[in-house]
Amino acid sequence: MNKIVRKLRPSHYWRIGEHESWFADMAAEGLHLKKMGLHFAQFAKGEPKKMTYRIDVSLNKKISSEQKEMYAESGWNYVTSYGEFNVFASPVELNAPELHTDPAEQSYTLKKLDKKLAVNAVIVAVATILMLGMVSAIWFLDGTPTLVLIEGRMIQQTILTIYIVYLAYTSLQAAISIRALRNTLLEGKSINHNAPWKKHHRLTSIIAMIYIVILVLVVAPSFVQLGKSNTKTLPEVSADLPIVRLGDVEQNPELVRESSYIRDNIDWSNRYSYHWSLLAPIQFQSDEHGIVSNKMWEDGSGVYSPSVHTRVYQLSVPSMVESLISDLIKRYDLAHRGGDFINIEHTDFDVLIVHEVDEFKQVFVSKGKAVMHVRYYGYADISSVIESTAHKITLISE
């Protein structure tokens, strides 16, 4: 069994002449082409031999046996195919006749491929534009790009989109190149079978490196995020969690937990989730609902049932604190409730912004590299919310 050697193809698949001269150069070094993959060619190690290679585009995806036989009779042996591209080889000493003696006739063999690549390019371009639109809508539609960036849920999709843009670019390139080749042939100029391949080889290697880096960038954080994200039911006591608890705000011994939605053993109305991203390695979110059975809402809508919702971020880049707060306000402003966002000086916080409308209260705060957003619905005073928040934010502000 011959040893198999894999090599990165020097340039894009549609560069026929460069591949032909590359295969010949490899054969002269004793590497004989066996198979061609998407990015790598497989060679069998053997004796160095002077070989001529020709790549012939077939009208159909699979080349007919009649065509192979006809070529073989003239001294051209079929080696392998990739897509519509078929590789034939002949020892130099055999002096086999050139496959194509009439460039204009050869241009007809590219007609189908040309059409296919053109349709392809259009479809990919449209799909890419749609995808770009979708991704940029998520980033910018509600004007909170910092929040999207920090939560890190869109990073992979965005990198993927960049990759798809690159794919669209190459399929456009393929269509243009084959069209150009078709026209060149039609003018009677033949393919340059000795086209130098080394220049593109370096570029291809660089692109392959970028490709691998992108892959690592997409895959590695995904696994970390998966491993560092979870949702759990809130314990009754959670002194070590940077979450504002309903009990701390209400200060009412009659308060009991109200569970309305339990699935997968998690009480979703009384839960906390944690999450990780590169820019915010500590992230928490919590929901908590309670009920005080001997107390009624003043508007008579039923038994008093306060709730609190917390969002917590510890940033790895503290300078992003301000724009994160402004994005949080933008996304969770609940403008329909009216009321003002009031900036208050407070010794426990770097920033404290309060929004209060009747029993609806929310605070946006930061301290050091920590940012919190607490939304409370109930009769407790806003100062109680601020006090609890001040206590909790010290857990992660350093």
Partner: protein, 106 residues
């Protein structure tokens, strides 16, 4: 690029000419060299392309197909097209006669 009665490519013309006698693959290449008095050595790629296109256009047809070897022959349409092309080429050459006279006058 179906044939619409316009000028033929050189490759088409000679393949049709060679197929006045049914023939196949490799031998056909030799027949073309012969019928062109050694002027045209057609490569197998060009030949295969011309054959498959002209078959689609109905200028030639499969006379025999034993699975391994396909023998082609010219159709009536093909022969008609070939004769029209021949007359056209004759007319072209005729028109070019003035070049010859001009040369002789010198």
């Amino acid at each position: 690029m179906s044939y619409n009665g316009g000028p033929m490519t050189e490759a088409m013309y000679y393949v049709l000419l060679a197929l006045m006698n049914p023939n196949h693959g490799y031998q056909l290449m030799n027949a073309i060299t012969e019928v062109s008095n050694g002027r045209l050595n057609m490569g197998p790629g060009t030949l295969y392309g011309v054959l498959s296109r002209m078959q689609k256009d109905g200028l030639i047809s499969l006379a025999e197909d034993d699975g391994r070897r396909k023998t082609y022959s010219i159709t009536d349409d093909g022969e008609r097209a070939l004769r029209i092309e021949y007359s056209r080429l004759m007319a072209l050459v005729q028109d070019g006669m003035i070049l010859k006279e001009g040369y002789e006058n010198e």
